[in-house]
Symmetry: C2
Subunit: 395 residues, 2 copies
């Protein structure tokens, strides 16, 4: 009987994440996985959470376990406003269930069936997934090592009823490529978006994990009325609490709150109070550098291993200045999806690049994470990847 | 600039909950509020959560703070399956961010724009809100003190492209009316739904809070392949953790998981492990009776106060055998929305009944909660309500 029920048209477009499916195949004992997108559990401040949990429950237990407002716990909204590098009113901060939820809410508020939306090429797969139930048409904007090309952004913007509803960008250490938008590109994109009146959706889950150089200002800081900004506690504290935030222009904020209220009433009160408690006394100022130095050391090992092992192969890669990922370009004609079983046979796993493209995937690309593997595993895994590339038919 | 952005058509239909707006008006010092839908914080097992949190973080901190599977923490899914009174496979249990989220996921999977869906008259306002972004057409089924009338369910079922996608029902101590479906009505509804091949969405957040009599079997127990069942930890443990669950037929389960993955990846790992830890050693078997006895005593006081204070008024009310709410019918011609300021002036607040109707509201109805008010406040509040009714123009 169940099988004959009529489902929504969108249900046919829902799919399990290609990455999660790949992880099921590669998550085997003995495989060195550079495929995952998980932060290193070594970075979770477990004892700080334990102390904070006791403090919150013993001091404010009844309030911490009760329903609360959709907008979020005010001291946490204030803490978010305080940590951002432009003038943010806590009344513009909405606490969400991980920044993934922000993507769902923005899709609900901005996207009709068939709406054009602009994304980087490649882009974060989870965003494509979050948008899909609203049935928009994601259009890839040609992108280089600094992100979206502004000329192509303008060329793809559409007009009239087909004008892009928004453009989704990840300016810092992008997932999947690890690339970062330069100062010039940011400014040019913000100005073009303002000129064309296209909202920018700025996703910045990795921004605090910068290894070197100064951070260019966020897009939102350059035009707060033109940008919806998303951040997360998943990479600087712990993803298992599912806590993120949105900073939205006031005209849009209320709609996002209504969408959130309809879908889950509010983000867990306890989790919000827990993180607000942990963040007291500038905890993050001491904690974030420990994450950066761990990830930076592992990035350095991976870059050195690639340099050493890929000698003589027509392979290139990005040199991320922060974050968790780097992006490898294989020789033209090689398909990373076909390469994967050869790599797994040799003891390592990666994520093929194709699922990160909205259309016309560049199949000779793949993503590597350096954060949950030890230096010794990185050396061994990159050597295995090079072996797999050499074993690819036709090489 | 923001104000000129093009939003999704659905955004115009999103509204803040009428109840939340009313609560803002009535949440004033000195007002005895029977308007809220909050459980009593006296029932939250704070010290059990404190002990569980320490145990989870000290034993499994890294896993409790890491990303996890969309389906949920297996020991919790197993605990849910074990506590339900029919044969449930944990593989059919999906852990969600409060049962409100289940409504959002079901709407995404089942409802296109214009899809007919059947609801009780009146029904849970939050469900109407959760469904609204998918733009279905909620059709009220005539209902009596035992819930939906099966004849009207069949009459409203529609056919062909307009056939109802599902019917949403709250069989136990319904929000807002407090009514409970009888054994006979349950069986008749399940059989008719099976005959017409209409999925039932059974919402049971209050089922454990039964004060008297035996619990009739859930609808899902009568036809597991024909019913999607929703439950919650909000009323038996704490709402501030935002933890609920869905039990779905296997053919639908995968689609709900995909919808959940797209919208927030998974329910917080830490919260799931915390509740699984608290539930060990049959904790709920000892805890739930304490909630029942608190709420039952307060229901008794409210029923007695109504009996005493409404003498001589053409007012009737339900006699719930569990849950948190009762429903008052005012004299014909009286509008509860107009009555509210008179009641607030006299020091008490309720929720007018109109927002709980999908269409054609019965405006002479209102909802009272007896769970967060003391016996003395109940006596005083019901006396104030009777005074307000007597002061209503034309009485």
């Amino acid at each position: 009987m169940t099988a004959s029920w009529t489902l929504a048209a969108r249900a046919a477009k829902m799919n399990s994440s290609a990455i999660r499916e790949i992880l099921k195949l590669t998550d085997r004992p003995g495989i060195i996985s550079m495929a995952g997108g998980l932060p290193s559990p070594k970075t979770f401040p477990i004892s700080a959470f334990d102390a904070a949990s006791q403090a919150v429950l013993q001091r404010d237990g009844a309030a911490a376990l009760q329903y609360s407002t959709t907008e979020g716990y005010l001291p946490l909204r204030q803490a978010v406003a305080d940590m951002l590098p432009w003038d943010v009113d806590p009344e513009q901060v909405l606490i969400v269930g991980g920044s993934q939820q922000a993507l769902d809410l923005v899709a609900k508020v901005f996207m009709d069936k068939g709406s054009r939306i602009l994304v980087e090429r490649p882009t974060y797969l989870g965003a494509l997934q979050a948008f899909a139930p609203m049935e928009p048409i994601p259009v890839g904007v040609a992108s280089d090592d600094e992100g979206m090309l502004v000329e192509d952004f303008a060329a793809q913007a559409g007009s009239g009823a087909d004008k892009a509803r928004l453009a989704y960008v990840l300016p810092n250490f992008q997932n999947p490529t690890g690339r970062t938008m330069s100062e010039e590109r940011r400014q040019a994109l913000v100005e073009k978006a303002r000129e064309l009146n296209i909202p920018l959706l700025e996703d910045n889950p990795y921004g605090d994990l910068r290894f070197e150089g100064d951070a260019p200002l966020p897009l939102a800081a350059r035009n707060p009325e033109g940008v919806i900004y998303m951040g997360s506690f998943s990479k600087v504290l712990a993803p298992g609490l599912r806590l993120g935030f949105v900073v939205a222009p006031k005209a849009i904020y209320g709609k996002l709150v209504q969408a959130k209220q309809a879908c889950d009433l509010h983000t867990p009160t306890f989790n919000q109070r827990l993180v607000a408690e942990v963040m007291q006394n500038n905890f993050l100022d001491g904690h974030i550098p420990t994450i950066r130095s761990l990830y930076k050391a592992q990035r350095d090992v991976m870059l050195a291993a690639l340099e050493r092992e890929m000698t003589g192969l027509d392979v290139s890669w990005t040199r991320p200045v922060g974050g968790m990922f780097l992006w490898v370009r294989l020789p033209q004609g090689m398909d990373a999806q076909q390469l994967l079983p050869l790599a797994v046979d040799r003891g390592m796993a990666f994520v093929p690049g194709a699922p990160f493209y909205p259309t016309d995937p560049e199949v000779n690309s793949l993503r590597l994470s350096y954060v949950t593997v030890s230096p010794a595993q990185i050396d061994q895994g990159i050597a295995a990847l090079a072996e797999a590339i050499r074993a690819y038919p036709g090489q």
